[in-house]
Symmetry: C2
Subunit: 452 residues, 2 copies
């Protein structure tokens, strides 16, 4: 492939190492080579070649996955789609845009400047849209705008044998056969490689305002969230940060937030609607002892606030110099959220490693940042214990082991516990039907073993 693609087929150590890790604490696993794809046809060509030689293929977007999705655990070729970064069409009138898979969410939003439209899905990292679709990403805006599942209309996908298919279309809805788009969203590159996608856009709300409110304890904050959601207030964002996270954020982002459990809100709509929503939520918050709302209505202030929120993960990493973090990602029905968080806090009190808690609580989704020295057996043991109990707790509450990070290699062992042996067997049957020689991102999502 070297002669066919020149420097776009790279086998140098540093490029391989860079493509063998993501944002997670998983042990890096570099691919044997990296191919920087320039087009869907090129991806198909390389996939066919890999098929001939039985070489595993690992699609790579921005490398911002957190469950080891991009790691080449069985070797093979990393197909880096980041140079496929053209915005192919913006259909403003139809509120959609078609992009190559390597376009990132910030790049798309920059291109939308002046159009009155935006792409709301925001997982924090400036991930590629292809990667976000592949992991069914969501983030802070999902409570209002949904996840990638809800915001992708159509895709171009290269299959395991190099065939190229188009799924979906640009109509807002369709009942025409099996929903291949939704099957591929969240399949983490194990069923096909997404090379182009059409995403929904949304009109920029006339008014947007963000606020921060501190609470005496975490239960009061969570109860405020639950009641706001149950009343159907269409909040655009409602994020919880525990006291430890706030203290990390203050240090990292030079903010001066009170170091208490805190909710970050954002409201979108007409000026009247925003003020109405804010009033309702302020009333709820104050009934649970929430202290006054600190508002950010200017765009710069809102951006600064959300940047601080997005940096929370990195801020937490600095709580324990030299540490690594392994993030957790459970999501539970909202009625169980307070209980789930409380029991988790009780567990946290029983271990010695620092653990910060924050998340997209409007969806019932929260993360722990479990800070470990990977060389310390006791740290790792505590971290495993916390994570295992957390997942068991979420599953017992009809929740999921992952709200938005995906399975990767980090959560394969929970698949059967969450879905049951038979449903996992169905997933295996689909994988075998679409990728019979297991070339596409092998070892991800499905647990090892033929029947478990």
């Amino acid at each position: 492939m070297k002669c066919r693609f020149g420097s776009r087929f790279a086998q140098g150590e540093s490029i391989r190492v860079q493509h063998g890790r993501d944002e997670s604490a998983h042990e890096p696993a570099p691919p044997d080579a990296v191919f920087f794809a320039g087009s869907t046809d090129e991806v198909a060509e390389v996939v066919r070649l890999c098929g001939q030689y039985r070489v595993p293929i690992i699609p790579y977007g921005a490398g911002s996955s957190v469950e080891g999705q991009v790691l080449a655990i069985h070797g093979g070729i990393s197909i880096d789609l980041s140079r496929m970064n053209r915005i192919l069409a913006i259909h403003g009138d139809d509120l959609d845009a078609t992009v190559a898979a390597g376009v990132t969410r910030l790049q798309l939003n920059a291109a939308l400047k002046g159009s009155g439209l935006f792409f709301p899905i925001d997982p924090g990292a400036d991930a590629s849209l292809g990667g976000m679709a592949a992991t069914r990403a969501s983030g802070t805006n999902a409570v209002r705008y949904g996840t990638m599942r809800d915001n992708v209309l159509a895709m171009t996908v290269v299959l395991a044998d190099g065939r190229i298919i188009k799924t979906g279309g640009r109509a807002r809805k369709s009942s025409a056969g099996y929903d291949l788009t939704r099957l591929l969203i969240g399949s983490e590159g194990t069923l096909g490689i997404i090379t182009e996608l059409t995403v929904r856009l949304h009109p920029i709300p006339e008014a947007m305002s963000a606020a921060v409110c501190a609470f005496p304890d975490i239960a009061a904050a969570v109860d405020t969230v639950i009641q706001s959601i149950q009343l159907g207030v269409p909040v655009a964002r409602i994020e919880l940060l525990d006291a430890l996270t706030i203290s990390a954020v203050n240090r990292h982002s030079h903010t001066t937030l009170r170091e208490l459990p805190t909710l970050f809100f954002e409201f979108h709509g007409s000026p009247a609607a925003v003020s109405e929503q804010a009033q309702i939520v302020q009333g709820i918050a104050s009934s649970f002892g929430g202290q006054e709302f600190a508002w950010a209505t200017r765009n710069e202030d809102r951006s600064r606030l959300w940047q601080a929120r997005h940096d929370a993960y990195f801020a937490c990493l600095q709580l324990k110099p030299g540490c690594r973090a392994f993030p957790t990602d459970v999501c539970v029905p909202i009625s169980r959220l307070a209980e789930c968080i409380q029991a988790t806090k009780d567990d946290i009190a029983r271990v010695s490693i620092p653990i910060a808690l924050f998340g997209h609580v409007g969806d019932g989704n929260f993360h722990l940042v479990v800070l470990v020295d990977p060389a310390s057996a006791s740290d790792m043991h505590e971290a495993e214990w916390i994570n295992e109990r957390l997942v068991e707790r979420a599953l017992a509450m009809s929740g999921t082991c992952t709200g938005e990070h995906g399975i990767g290699i980090g959560k394969t062992r929970f698949m059967v516990r969450e879905h049951g042996v038979e449903a996992v067997a169905v997933m295996r049957a689909i994988k075998a039907a679409l990728d019979p020689t297991n070339l596409l991102n092998p070892g991800k999502i499905l647990p090892p073993g033929a029947s478990s």
Copy 2:
């Protein structure tokens, strides 16, 4: 099976005939027997028996499909789920409910009375929720609340070999593996039989008001819709009825609407939000020559209005006594809607059979009710011509041949044109993986032939 299930296994002529047809004009095809299922385990048992004897299985809900989905075109056993009609749990705090597949949407909404919650998906007919999931149904509220795709969280499904799986869960979002829920939604009983499902509920808006507005011509009405959607006004319903439909509705429902192209609107929200939305849309309508809004704010008046809308299909049938209708169901990107409707109107002007037009134009979805005497070759020829051209037009506009009715047997011939040979081959591979002997609703969705 007679001795095992007694009268719940029925082979009488009239029951078979009743289960061999739906609301469509397709030639009825009665099953060899009808099994009235009482539980998921019973469905699994009958599926296993059918597997042993290679007997086709056709799931049956309320019989309100319109593309022949319930017809036993290859014989076999119709599994009638209408007696599995228990509401299993209402989780008001989590805004979800778990029901057996035979529960109808009106039944669920009746059970929700007093809870402050409702289930919004409303395809007109009082369909079963299992059937609605199986055809990815939507209807008048979809522009605001989405389709069945967006409103099902979890399902219990009997597979072709009698295994029972649970898909999804009660968390609002999850990235845990392949989205089997979405794969099965819209699969029309060809991949599995949905026996239970958990659906999302929504808080009943504080204020709801409906209005009717007549326009000088259909283009003015459509332009009003397009502009409202592009501005992001969160209308709950926005329905177009052409002049012929209005005249049929007036006769059938004893209304006195002006016989002009007309939009039916509904607005949901706080009183202030409803009045704000209404004001914006009234402004748009009046700029396009819309005549004054006639408001229905009392619940009875709103219900009467929407009943009249839902009866439009039956009202149209009475335009030509003794006729049958075959409905069309294209959906296009909103920017192409005016052009699509105008070109279709031009076609309608060229045929002699009466054709009414109405639909869920906020989603770009509209129906023709093409009234034919099935015995008249010229009627059938005209109808086919209209339909064929309409689907080609929608596909050329990046739309779909079916926005909400599904494929059934009526639209299999458009599958390759819409999705391409390779995507249909992927669907076939999935079907073969999950139902290798083709027992589940054979002949539906996938076109005949191994490779097309």
